[in-house]
Assembly symmetry: C2
Amino acid sequence: RNYSEKLKKQFSDKEYVGFATLPNQVHRKSVKKGFDFTLMVAGESGLGKSTLVNSLFLTDLYKDRKLLNAEERITQTVEITKHTVDIEEKGVKLKLTIVDTPGFGDAPVADYIDQQFEQYFRDESGLNRKNIQDNRVHCCLYFISPFGHGLRPLDVEFMKALHEKVNIVPVLAKADTLTPSEIEQYGIKIYQFPDCDSDEDEDFKQQDYELKESIPFAVIGSNTVVEAKGKRVRGRLYPWGIVEVENLAHCDFLKLRNMLVRTHMQDLKDVTREIHYETYRAQYVRMDVSHQAVGLLSLSLSLSLPLLPPPTQLRRMQEMLLRIQDQMHTQKDAY
Amino acid sequence: RNYSEKLKKQFSDKEYVGFATLPNQVHRKSVKKGFDFTLMVAGESGLGKSTLVNSLFLTDLYKDRKLLNAEERITQTVEITKHTVDIEEKGVKLKLTIVDTPGFGDAPVADYIDQQFEQYFRDESGLNRKNIQDNRVHCCLYFISPFGHGLRPLDVEFMKALHEKVNIVPVLAKADTLTPSEIEQYGIKIYQFPDCDSDEDEDFKQQDYELKESIPFAVIGSNTVVEAKGKRVRGRLYPWGIVEVENLAHCDFLKLRNMLVRTHMQDLKDVTREIHYETYRAQYVRMDVSHQAVGLLSLSLSLSLPLLPPPTQLRRMQEMLLRIQDQMHTQKDAY
């Protein structure tokens, strides 16, 4: 039999058990299941955020967006919006969600991230956890304006309000002069590339080093194909020349994409799950006495059970009970 | 620069984003983290369970075990024991735990499995989830005696008591005449090999089919190398000939090992996590009113917080409060 022949061959090495195939089993399962990734873009309007995202994923995420005229722009209620696309590449499926925060300050964006954590917390505390939809934000590209000559107070405030909640990757909307040390100087914790293992090969170490050196990534995006030196490239045509998006000398676009997609996408997800979400969850659970009410609340909600009175009410009741019993005793004694 | 050159080459295909590397990122991370697997062996003594496990993993898990004389055997308190070994193969690390249940009935074994689930439930409901030790049992090899001419009531009872809690893989201690339909006839749900995807290659489908046909696996184990037809093989020497362990015509040892280690180890873990543990958790959470107390208990334990009174006590207090208030009103009215 075919299979038997194969088995015999596999086992010809008598000292090989076969659990070295475990990573392949994981690999196989992950392909079967497919991937998802939620990317948030933040920063003021007009910095080319949508264009960059489209360039990163070579897809039109905003095809349904209509351009507004000046009057509409003023009356429009601007909201945090989500765009989701299913894309596939070499048999690998990715459900990509882009969360757009047009010109928002830190408070509503922090709220949005917290809400996703809270929803996840409720779901994972609930009864049926089979089909939990995970909307947690895995990465936030924060666009720094090139006109501010460095970080403005607004930028510092925004990143500091969010850096415990989400992996921040600062992006300079166009090449500028902001240095990594400036970011550190303000005490902002941006997404930390994990340390290289000492046993990694030299190529990987070099790549890692150059990535870390490139922060903030100075990028431009373009969905336009232009002609440069006889070749057709993605780029922007300026009166003074062509900026090629995918030219490393022109901008860090390739490095950003490489990091975000090819080398660190899974790590961004792991850090979100293991650090940011756990930080949120611990605060939520610890929250004073009320955590007990919260635990009950989330359980009760998921079970549709009647709620117990919250602890404060309970305490008041206990006190009242004692007081009344006391009063009654006094009355009795008085008789 | 070396890396820049590499990047340029990678991006020469302009329509390739690169998220097809996601399974490789998962693969890489899984190797870095290492694997663990907990295997339980059950069934009466003297069926060669330890020998088989040692043969499966080519390691001596029981090197510290001392053989007891008859007197010691009687006075010895037999317990469920755990043996853990760290083994490595081609750079893949596996922490293998064998849970031994020498001759136990179903009740203590079911209790043991439940205790691991309960511990995990407490840990994952607790505050610090960083270093949770997962002791959940991923698979139970149930050894059927070859002298019983099929399943005995004891076997049926045992497997039925456990089949909702753990992945059962029945093993016939030596080649015998029990057929798969006999297992089905008793309504025992053994570990179900996941269905093949229709897009799998023919080899994989054939392998899958033959695996399913081989249940229960008829195996013998041996750590002795004997000489058979001039070749040195793992096997047992009988007066009437040699049974080669790794000969497919002689027994299903290779098939069992292939299934357990090379093709389905990850699936056994996933089914444990997604089906058996979730079933336990749902029952635990749902458990009448007391689930609320339990939720509080596990939270409070992990937070070392004083407990709220249990719901029944609370209800009694509310009733008492009402009664007392009522009494007081009556008294007031009486004045």
